[in-house]
Symmetry: D2
Subunit: 152 residues, 4 copies
């Protein structure tokens, strides 16, 4: 995600670092960045009108995390006021790339890349991402998500 800056994101959510999230070295304990990314997804889905979990469940599906990648650049500290920037960076047929940049001012402290698979609620089998959701995301994002649809 080199070269990515705040300008690449349409969605931001503010977050203040809690005492409980900071370790004996005075910095945010690593797993909390993944918890922050989960908050970013929740708030992103609420913003675009698909509040978790009902937004997709009413269409019969749910998102399952299959992969996470975290790049740590600098540390957040107690009481820091952060911005969780988030965007759908990739849309496949049944999967979704979700990219979260954790910023303190203009400095990206940490980058989290999540891969979700959309699956049928009942069978848990991968299921095509609902069109209304895909269209909403594309209309929302100023930097268009990469499309990785299988070729015909």
């Amino acid at each position: 995600m080199d070269g990515v800056s705040r300008q690449d994101f349409t969605f931001f959510h503010p977050l203040r670092v809690r005492w409980s999230e900071v370790d004996p070295q005075g910095i945010v304990f690593n797993p909390n960045y993944l918890a922050y990314a989960d908050i970013a997804l929740t708030e992103y889905m609420r913003r675009i009108g698909f509040p978790y979990p009902d937004g997709l469940l009413r269409l019969g599906s749910d998102l399952f995390t299959v992969r996470a990648e975290i790049n740590f650049r600098a540390s957040a500290k107690y009481d820091d006021e952060l911005d969780l920037a988030a965007r759908v960076s990739r849309i496949g047929r049944t999967s979704l790339g979700f990219s979260v940049g954790i910023f303190r001012g203009d400095q990206m402290l940490c980058e989290v890349l999540l891969t979700y698979v959309n699956a049928a609620r009942e069978t848990q089998k991968p299921m095509k991402l609902p069109e209304p959701f895909v269209e909403t995301v594309i209309a929302f994002e100023k930097r268009p998500p990469e499309r990785t649809l299988p070729s015909a």
Copy 2:
């Protein structure tokens, strides 16, 4: 719980303090002592043959926490090897006093007193503690629980 020592407890469960549980001052963050007490209850119930949650559910009831009291005496630190000592300290008709002493060696660092109400799973209404459970507890504890049954 003045004067209470390791000798008052029949049940002990070892626990090592995790990095994630320690705050910027190098001591265990307070809410974690309550989480430790929850672990103590889980392991106590397993030991006496009523593993949570099925042990009581098969008798139609479940325990709900209505009150917690925590007295902090000294701080646990990263990597400390603690003992969670636990006992049923009081048995009422529908309620239970559960007492957890968090020890580092012979020093009690923290004392947690929990009050649970036994309630019917379906209606969530208070329900008499099941006799088999009460008898098992009384047989297990070397220091007998206080009985606070209503008088006839």
Copy 3:
């Protein structure tokens, strides 16, 4: 704290329940209410001009939790928008009672009563609460804190 309602509090801080704070029963895991109370203290101290931890440290002292009491009345659920209401309910010579009501609308779900001791940073010995802090609290609270100063 029977009879206590939102009207008794001057300070409120909004908080939305996170997915990570909710247990398999769909309700907030008990120790998180204590973590919420810690957030309430942090924000209260910021509001009255004594941001934690520097607000008191610059006067040579720090607050240590010695006791917590939690009364659980009803459960908060995922995504609930709560209000943390907080007040200094008691001021002693070296100790402080801090009362937190966790509300969903007008319903108090949980009440947390914390006792702090003010101690010298260096020696960790109890130390008289700084006058500027006491005066600020008294001016801030519309319902006056109980005074438990030793008699002359």
Copy 4:
């Protein structure tokens, strides 16, 4: 890490899933797998004689996480008895690959790959991994770590 099985690991650490780690869907909340990997590192370092943090600090350095990758295959549930399998999978000049497999029996539920940089404690600048540490790791691991030393 396809094809990796328990047989690739020399080090194992048992862990029982706590109630606090499980989400409303009854499965372990994702960030906790990263916290489990942190426990695995702590216990690995203890086992090989370099207990965190003093083991490396006495040689003037410390490990900093720069990257984490997590592949989720199946979910751990409440009360599951897991094995954290861990190995140093790569040794560079100043960096280290640490691979954690989270097993329930023979099934790998989750795989965490961590990249650490060894840095001087004072300057926080990357520093050659101490020879005694490298030798100890190589002697310990039955499946040799990949060496990614720069060519002469």
